[in-house]
Subunit: 399 residues, 2 copies
């Protein structure tokens, strides 16, 4: 990575610069709306849904939503991670020169989720479940002619290994625990001089991910210009809120940085509550970052703790107005609605902010209270679509 | 329906008129491309895949494809059928007056696929599996303020009944066989004067469905204008071929009618071969339409025989250059690729033309021979996305 001291500040202007840099290398993904989802989200939850929560026996909130879904499942490699990987690599090339980067190469290791899944059950075609960051880095490196060394557990399925190799990366095998993988990465760095590109805990990654928020806002402005519309109300900043999934904090940190000068657009994070996966929310309550997380939530992209640099943004209540957590069943129900009603193929992590909109009563009360009868225009970043038919079968098997 | 004698000819101009009429009531669905699908489609099949076919021991074809997918899964009610239903109803209003249509109402019955599925196993949320035409008519009728009587088997699941009612239609119950449902429709017509809107066998339906082809061509022209492109080659008619699923023949008939003055764009139909579901192909071979079909193919939207009027278009070899059939496994494999790689949620019927591109060796040989090294630009109409997580689980259970 580029030296952190050389990185631009986490500001909207830096994200505009990042966008100018990576624009030609990423997809300008669509923003879609759905009357059906608006209707469901704008209906109060059943009283029974609040049973056993602090809202039991209270009147369910009746918020009014107009939702705008940013389809990063259609992004290159099937997830927003392509943005951060391209930005980090292109900034690195700017800083130390492309020849130097090509000489040394880059490295990272496949994220925890593939590791866990591999241990649980081998899944055919599971290259689609490989760490999104590893695939994103492999793609960015091959695009820029840079050698990439991706560390993967040796027990990975052949199709997953082939999938990562198909981006032109060199696959290096390791043991299946996190320390074993980190050790192999360090060996590679020692032997080849390769530069580590971490998945989220770096300003260049955060700024790259923030470009999804930039595109989203600009697309919603265009959508609202089309008839029928209310005209020029809130023209410059039409969104009342944006929700993103929160794992390591690259996407939420980038989104919050982009809107950091726009108080009318509140930014919220969405986490799985299963087995303490809501480390961001717990960290805010405790007043400090939770450094380790161990959860097997189905939202497998969100199993990681929030990164240190990411935490400086996320814990700033002028930048992130709240973090909400949802249950495994709520994530599954939200994912089912997006698949069946919106016809969009997404991974469970991407369904987490949708579940917050539909089921997090605390959030829904804020929208009812602050949005009133006019309601809120809310952006939701559908972070990725890297799952498989087999994984979906397994996910809903017990239903 | 409007009297057939008053219907415009099945020509491109009539489809342009249909589009002007229904445009404001339908979604302008996106056209998407996929490098991954282009790469897979442009790779020769494994020699083993041709085993047991007439191409066994021959060199597998090496066609070159640039594919353009027309996403009618994002159409209103989740399928292209909204186009035909709106067109038929609006033409009827033009012909006999909207007041008369509102007084009499319209009727149809839910298609065979929901019937069969209901008999096999009740599926939760199966309003998504209700006949697409029935839902399309219910939507068009409610939009235009016309009463709609939809005949459904009384053994339909409550959620399916609720789904059809949610469009404002009156649901009338019948026995579960086709003759029983037709009898109830005839009762309704006698009692209320309601006008029957058939699902495919009428010029107004065919012309309405043809508007998907019109949009597709215009969108591909726009896409090819964007850099990087080869410039102005084949600017007016960029598509070398278009493939659509073939069930009753509304979509294929409309597509073939739209391109009937454009010999450089060949039109092909795609059918399931299971249990004689390839009645279009067999009809061409026999020299006459096959009037009845009885298949439980997973492509449940394609279980119907080709309609009589549809047949006049489809059997005209200047309009339709060929019909190809694929197996159940080929449909499943194609559907899996569209879900996992393109992140588009589609129903099995929509995967049938994709399966032809990937697996129908006879078709692939044509593309290799006529497209040569430059290859073909091929449009594929993804006809709908009305399936469920449960149906997908069942579909791939034995794998």
């Amino acid at each position: 990575m580029a030296d952190i001291k050389t990185c631009p500040p986490l500001s909207p202007d830096s994200i505009r610069e990042a966008y100018a840099l990576i624009g030609p290398n990423i997809h300008h993904t669509p923003v879609v709306t759905s009357k059906t989802l608006n209707r469901i989200a704008s209906s109060p939850q059943a009283a029974s849904a609040l049973k056993g929560t602090v809202f039991e026996d209270q009147r369910p909130a009746k918020p009014v939503f107009r939702l705008y879904f940013k389809c990063e499942n259609f992004q290159k490699i099937g997830a927003f991670k392509a943005r951060g990987a391209f930005h980090a690599l292109m900034r690195l090339c700017d800083q130390i020169g492309v020849d130097e980067v090509r000489k040394r190469g880059v490295t990272t290791h496949s994220s925890g989720r593939s590791h866990t899944l591999t241990l649980e059950a081998p899944i055919a075609n599971s290259n689609l479940l490989a760490g999104n960051h590893a695939q994103a880095l492999a793609l960015a490196a091959s695009t820029l002619g840079v050698p990439a060394h991706i560390v993967m557990p040796s027990i990975s399925t052949p199709s997953k290994i082939a999938g990562t190799k198909s981006y032109g990366a060199r696959v290096v095998f390791s043991g299946s625990t996190e320390p074993e993988r980190v050790a192999v990465v360090q060996d590679i760095i020692r032997e080849t001089g390769a530069i580590l590109i971490p998945p989220y805990d770096h300003p260049d990654i955060i700024l790259g991910q923030g470009t999804a928020a930039l595109e989203l806002e600009s697309q919603v402005i265009d959508l609202l210009k089309q008839p029928p519309s209310k005209g020029d109300i809130k023209k410059d900043h039409p969104l009342d809120a944006v929700l993103t999934p929160l794992g390591g904090g690259g996407l939420l940190g980038g989104t919050a940085s982009y809107f950091s000068n726009t108080p009318s657009t509140r930014v919220f994070g969405a986490e799985p509550s299963f087995e303490g996966g809501d480390d961001g929310r717990r960290g805010l309550a405790a007043g400090s970052r939770i450094p380790t997380v161990s959860t097997l939530t189905i939202a497998d992209g969100l199993r990681t703790p929030v990164g240190e640099i990411n935490w400086t943004v996320i814990s700033d209540n002028k930048k992130v107005q709240g973090i909400f957590a949802v249950t495994e069943n709520q994530i599954k129900e939200a994912m089912k609605l997006v698949l069946e009603r919106m016809k969009l193929f997404i991974e469970p992590s991407a369904a987490v902010p949708v579940a917050v909109v539909l089921f997090a009563e605390e959030f829904r009360r804020i929208v009812e209270r602050e949005g009133g009868e006019e309601g809120w225009d809310v952006g939701v970043i559908l972070s990725g679509g890297n799952t498989t038919v087999e994984a979906i079968q397994k996910l809903y098997r017990e239903d």
